[in-house]
């Protein structure tokens, strides 16, 4: 099962249109998408607007691949669940997000080996046609780095910054 998610906020039609066309051309019935509110609705793949957290976790667990916007919530979840993830950054200039940070997020996460990236529709299509090449990143634990936790504890308990 491929789980597609665009985040809880604004829609991401550019990504969904490519995935929907690819799924139709290849007869892929194993794609499910969470598409947000107010955007274009896929014609071939199964979708819902929003998933409550328990349902989201179930979909995430069952997935063999995650395709999503370059949102850190989804990226962190993919790393925790040990799932391969392909991200495409949303662009604020196209009304897909409130700030233009996802290109940077995607680039940096890719440099760290955490995600596969398609920066635009053409790249997404190429990636979809070579899905077998996508591998999961190193799995992460349940919490932040020890250094960050220690720094926060120092501040909370002793007031030292």
């Amino acid at each position: 099962m491929i789980f597609v998610t665009v985040g809880t906020d604004l829609p991401f039609d550019r990504m969904l249109k490519v995935i929907d066309a690819w799924a139709r051309e290849n007869g892929r019935r194993d794609v499910f998408a969470q598409i947000g509110e107010g955007g274009w609705e896929p014609e071939f793949i199964e979708f819902t607007h929003f998933l409550q957290p328990p349902e989201y976790s179930k979909r995430f667990n069952a997935a063999t691949l995650i395709i999503s916007h370059a949102g850190m919530g989804t990226i962190l979840s993919a790393l925790m669940y040990g799932k391969p993830i392909l991200v495409m950054p949303k662009r604020a200039s196209l009304g897909e997000h409130r700030s233009e940070h996802q290109v940077a997020t995607a680039r940096r996460m890719h440099e760290l080996g955490n995600v596969n990236v398609a920066f635009d529709e053409a790249e997404l299509r190429v990636r979809l046609d070579h899905l077998g090449e996508l591998r999961p990143a190193r799995r992460i634990g349940a919490s932040a780095s020890d250094e960050l936790v220690r720094g926060l504890r120092d501040f909370i308990f002793s007031g030292r910054a």
Binding site: P53, G73, A142, S143, A144, L148, L152, I156, A161
Partner: protein
């Protein structure tokens, strides 16, 4: 011998901000922590810990901003936390701004999503928070945010 348990409000908006806040949980061991966020569905993420629902807001909707600020102010008055920590975004900004005004020590941890520049609300919070953190070493520096580590 009773050990003092600091009261901490850990607050954020939804999605990635909330996922990051949850990854800080070990930092709150030994504290009386209250989690606050914008979706009821997130309640089960914190198990038996205290959970409060606040209205969501973003800078595109002024009315929601006002509603959110008022709800957060009332929450702060009721709970009087000693420490307020947030990973963003707009509701987190109100929480550190108003929390500071009410005498709490406040922490802004900018989202790891902001890999090349600080978020807008993160920049605004920089002038008054007690601990101003980025999750990217190259964004830290003199007069700017500090880097301790990241949620990864």
């Amino acid at each position: 011998m009773s050990e003092k348990r600091p009261k901490v409000l850990a607050i954020s908006s939804g999605g990635g901000h909330w996922v990051q806040l949850l990854r800080l949980r070990p930092a709150f061991e030994g504290c009386d922590v209250i989690y606050a966020t914008v979706r009821e569905g997130y309640r089960e993420d914190v198990g038996q810990a205290e959970f409060r629902l606040i209205p969501d807001s973003n800078r595109w909707n002024k009315q929601a901003l006002v509603r959110s600020a008022i709800a957060i102010f009332l929450l702060l008055l009721r709970e009087r936390p000693e420490v307020v920590i947030t990973t963003g975004a707009a509701p987190g900004y109100f929480a550190v701004r108003l929390g500071k005004w009410l005498g709490a020590r406040v922490i802004w941890l900018d989202s790891v999503a902001n890999a090349e520049e600080f978020s807008m609300s993160g920049v605004k919070s920089g002038g008054f928070v007690d601990l101003w953190l980025t999750q990217w070493p190259h964004l830290a520096g003199e007069g700017g945010p500090r880097f301790y580590g990241s949620v990864l």
